[in-house]
């Protein structure tokens, strides 16, 4: 069972990393418009000049 003492803190660190990433995304403004993004991907990509 001693493995638990290593794995559980590791898992919690993983969760912490997820949370920090999420907080960064929100702070970065990526969640400000939750509707636009779903439509934006439907538009065509800009064609690169050749």
């Amino acid at each position: 069972m001693s493995l638990l003492y290593v794995l559980l803190p590791l898992a919690i660190c993983g969760a912490g990393a997820w949370t920090v990433t999420f907080l960064w995304c929100v702070r970065d403004g990526q969640m400000d418009d939750l509707e636009g993004a779903s439509w934006r991907m439907l538009g065509d990509d800009e064609r690169r000049p050749q």
Partner: protein, 809 residues
């Protein structure tokens, strides 16, 4: 001979062929119907071969969204002062500006608008926030002046205004972000506590070493802390505020349970015995926050749609200086007595008096009248209305907060704040909850005291936890936001959930004016005379522009008759030679005096006037030959709407500023018993206040002069096509032509109320079961963990499956 020549001009609603949104706009030259500039451009691009050609073609004839932007000069936007006030420097020589756009609402808009860099050299990026209709443009002013950017947008069909509420918006965005962060943290906590809880539950069932158990409990305490210290904060703050102001609030009830749960869990973890409730409590915090977030977003969507108003009075005025030159200054710095130039298509920045020039003014913002009014030197003009004709020179008489627009807004806000705020249903029930749970807890402690102090306190706390009104806290916001979303889909915008709740309690409805129930323009309702006379009148009136003339032209082909020597006499009528005979059309007393047989016809005209119509006499070669009765026709859907409202048991009133005869005719035709004519805006406000003493009142109106009454009523409903300021005063804004939406609003609100009550009843049933178990001491953490989500799940399912607004779900 008598023939009724009234013409049916029902407002037609069509579906946009690109995105399917219903719209009342008329088809384009090639027969397509679009709801917005974005759709028409997108459609054009797809039907054309290449993107570039498509844009060129689209720009060639894309019509502006609103005609008034036609002549709008965007020059003021290039002013360095303007740039400094509204734009921010992105990098040297490159600026970023937020623009509020009118007419943005679908994916096509997003697609077209973000192609802006291709259309406007010098714009490096354009990013649209679809939810707020805000476009962030990054541009180089020396290559693409702001006037060019806004002009391109205008040609695409979007009127652009600089975002003036930037600070408020930034604050709101910050609030939204913090809310999302709380939800994210709550979710991470809840999910991880849940994983550990599974291990603990399994351990309870299949055996677990005491050491491991202790470790796992400490681990879940650690994972719980972010949820307790960060995510659950709003509930504790809300509870503190409720305590301070001694008001009932659902937060108080929630905080009591959450606090008891957290505290018990922490104490029991430290002493390593007893129950911990971390899994239930963290999951609950997440569910409650998420439902509040959904609710808040729905509520804002409706409010945003009416917030454009702030951008309507221009922030720049063109001031004439002593030398006759023109300087652009901020509207706020205009002094009384200053001479301002207002160009065609621009809005007046201040209240004033015309000193030079004559033209017409579009008063739609203030009065809701679509007909422009003629003005000349000496006439008063008001801030926010639009100069529709030629350039005018205006002497400022009131600026800033003294303008009529600002004062109206002020009255509106006062009226709104004077309205007794009704405590929301959840808060009322929440108050009983707190008292009930606290009393029961005390009773439990006393009853279980013989079993030992520890047992008694454990049971009391278990009771406080299961008595958490979580389903109640979820039920109302979710059911309300789901109903508001459904309402928005059928183009009924409800600003707050409180308004939705108040709608269900409305007992009487006041229609503010006859114009709400009628088509709002004159048509020929009765005609006495030969058809050839009618044709001659139609030909003559074709040369005159006047509401009466327009009414007389309607109904049939424009006859091919020669008309000459047309002479218009203001206030009386018009005369001219039609097909060789002399024709006079106009006010009965004026026409009758010109003909020997006039007396009898004048009496007939008097009868028509008694019925609330506007009579017009026609004389040909000094003999009266025709009589027309003009009236504002009752809308086709008014009758069925009135019947539907009466069937709901609502008491209908018609309080109008119009002539008693006109009001009487409309009320009789529709079967409205209570009506009052010649009512001033103050009188309307008084009527609303009087009725409110007896019962809840809904006021339905469309003009700014009614804004105070709209705001004072229990629920103010502004209808489509009304003055834009009335949208801001109303709780409900109906964005769809026709009156049927009014009946739908009441029907939907009634259903939504039922959904909320059902949800609350289910939540209460779960709470009662939980409390019974807790008092008898058989509640285990597992039970609590199962009961709470079960209750929440039932409530969420109910909120999303029950029908509210609109025909289908």
């Amino acid at each position: 001979m008598m023939s009724s020549l009234a013409v049916s001009t029902k407002l037609q609603t069509r579906a946009c062929i690109y995105c399917g949104t219903p719209t009342s706009r008329s088809p384009t030259a090639d027969g397509f119907v679009f709801c917005c500039g974005g759709c028409s451009t997108a459609h054009q691009l797809i039907s054309e071969a290449g993107l570039k050609e498509g844009f060129a073609a689209a720009l060639g004839d894309a019509r502006p969204q609103r005609p008034r932007e036609d002549a709008q000069s965007f020059q003021a936007f290039d002013d360095p002062g303007f740039l400094a006030a509204h734009a921010r420097e992105h990098s040297p020589g490159v600026y970023a500006i937020d623009l509020v756009l009118e007419g943005v609402h679908c994916a096509a808009c997003l697609w077209v608008l973000e192609k802006l860099p291709r259309l406007c050299a010098g714009v490096s990026s354009a990013r649209l926030n679809l939810a707020h209709a805000r476009l962030t443009v990054i541009f180089e002013p020396h290559r693409a002046p702001l006037s060019k950017v806004t002009e391109t947008l205008s040609r695409l069909g979007y009127a652009a205004h600089p975002a003036r509420d930037a600070s408020r918006l930034a604050m709101r965005r910050q609030q939204d972000r913090i809310m999302l962060m709380r939800i994210g943290v709550a979710f991470a906590s809840a999910a991880n506590v849940m994983l550990i809880a599974v291990a603990l539950y399994c351990g309870d069932r299949f055996g677990i070493s005491a050491e491991t158990r202790h470790f796992l409990r400490w681990a879940s305490l650690v994972v719980t802390l972010p949820s307790l210290l960060f995510s659950a904060l709003p509930f504790f703050r809300g509870a503190m505020a409720a305590l301070r102001t001694r008001t009932a609030h659902i937060d108080l009830a929630l905080a009591l349970s959450l606090g008891a749960g957290y505290l018990q869990g922490i104490i029991n973890t430290i002493r390593n015995s007893g129950e911990i409730y971390f899994d239930s409590v963290t999951a609950l915090v997440f569910a409650l926050l998420a439902s509040r977030y959904v609710h808040q977003r729905k509520q804002r969507q409706a409010a945003d749609a009416t917030e454009l108003l702030a951008a309507l009075a221009p922030s720049i005025a063109h001031r004439r200086d002593a030398q006759g030159g023109v300087v652009d200054v901020a509207s706020a710095s205009v002094g009384i007595g200053d001479i301002i130039e207002v160009r065609a298509g621009e809005a007046f920045p201040v209240d004033g008096e015309v000193v030079e020039g004559s033209g017409c003014v579009d008063m739609a913002l203030l009065s809701g009248e679509s007909e422009p009014i003629d003005v000349g030197p000496g006439d008063a003009v008001h801030a926010g209305t639009i100069c529709a004709g030629a350039m005018l020179l205006v002497r400022a008489t009131a600026t800033g907060s003294d303008t009529r627009l600002a004062r109206l807004t002020q009255t509106m806000q006062t009226a709104a704040s004077e309205r007794a705020e009704i405590i929301e249903l959840t808060d009322r029930v929440g108050a009983y909850f707190v008292v009930g749970a606290a009393l029961l807890a005390v009773v439990t402690v006393i009853a279980a005291w013989p079993l030992g102090a520890e047992v008694a306190i454990d049971r009391a706390i278990a009771l406080l936890i299961v008595a958490c009104p979580c389903a109640l806290g979820l039920a109302t916001p979710l059911a309300m936001s789901s109903a508001m979303a459904a309402a928005a889909r059928s183009r009924i915008l409800i600003k707050t959930s409180a308004a939705l709740e108040r709608l269900t309690r409305v007992k009487s409805v006041i229609f503010d004016k006859t114009g709400t129930l009628t088509e709002g323009r004159l048509t020929v309702a009765h005609w006495f005379g030969e058809p050839d006379v009618r044709n001659a009148v139609r030909a003559l009136e074709g040369h005159v522009s006047h509401p009466v003339a327009r009414a007389l032209q309607d109904g049939g082909e424009r006859p091919n008759l020669t008309v000459s020597q047309v002479k218009q006499i203001t206030g009386l009528g018009v005369m001219g030679v039609v097909d060789g005979s002399h024709l006079v059309v106009g006010a009965p007393h004026w026409v009758a005096a010109k003909a020997p047989n006039g007396k009898l016809w004048e009496e007939m005209a008097g009868d028509l006037a008694q019925q609330g119509m506007t009579p017009v006499l026609v004389a040909r070669d000094h003999e009266v030959v025709g009589l027309a009765g003009l009236a504002d026709r009752v809308r086709d859907d008014a009758r069925e709407t009135v019947a539907a409202l009466q069937a709901r048991g609502l008491e209908l009133h018609l309080v109008s500023g119009d002539d008693p005869r006109v009001v009487g005719r409309v009320a009789r035709q529709l079967g409205i018993q209570r009506f009052e004519a010649l009512a001033s805006p103050e009188r309307k406000l008084a009527v609303v206040r009087d009725l409110e003493l007896r019962s809840s009142v809904a006021m339905i109106g469309d003009g700014v002069n009614d804004a105070a009454a709209l705001a004072a009523a229990t629920v103010g409903i502004a209808i489509h096509g009304g003055a834009e300021a009335s949208m801001a005063a109303a709780d409900v804004y109906i964005d769809r032509p026709g009156l049927t939406a009014i009946a739908d609003t009441f029907e939907g609100a009634h259903r939504a109320g039922k959904v909320v009550r059902t949800g609350i009843v289910f939540g209460l049933i779960y709470n009662v079961i939980g409390v019974c178990l807790a008092v008898s001491g058989i509640v285990t953490p597992l039970m609590a963990a199962l009961l709470m989500p079960a209750a929440s799940l039932t409530v969420v399912t109910l909120a999303h499956t029950m029908r509210t607004f609109g025909g289908r779900r």
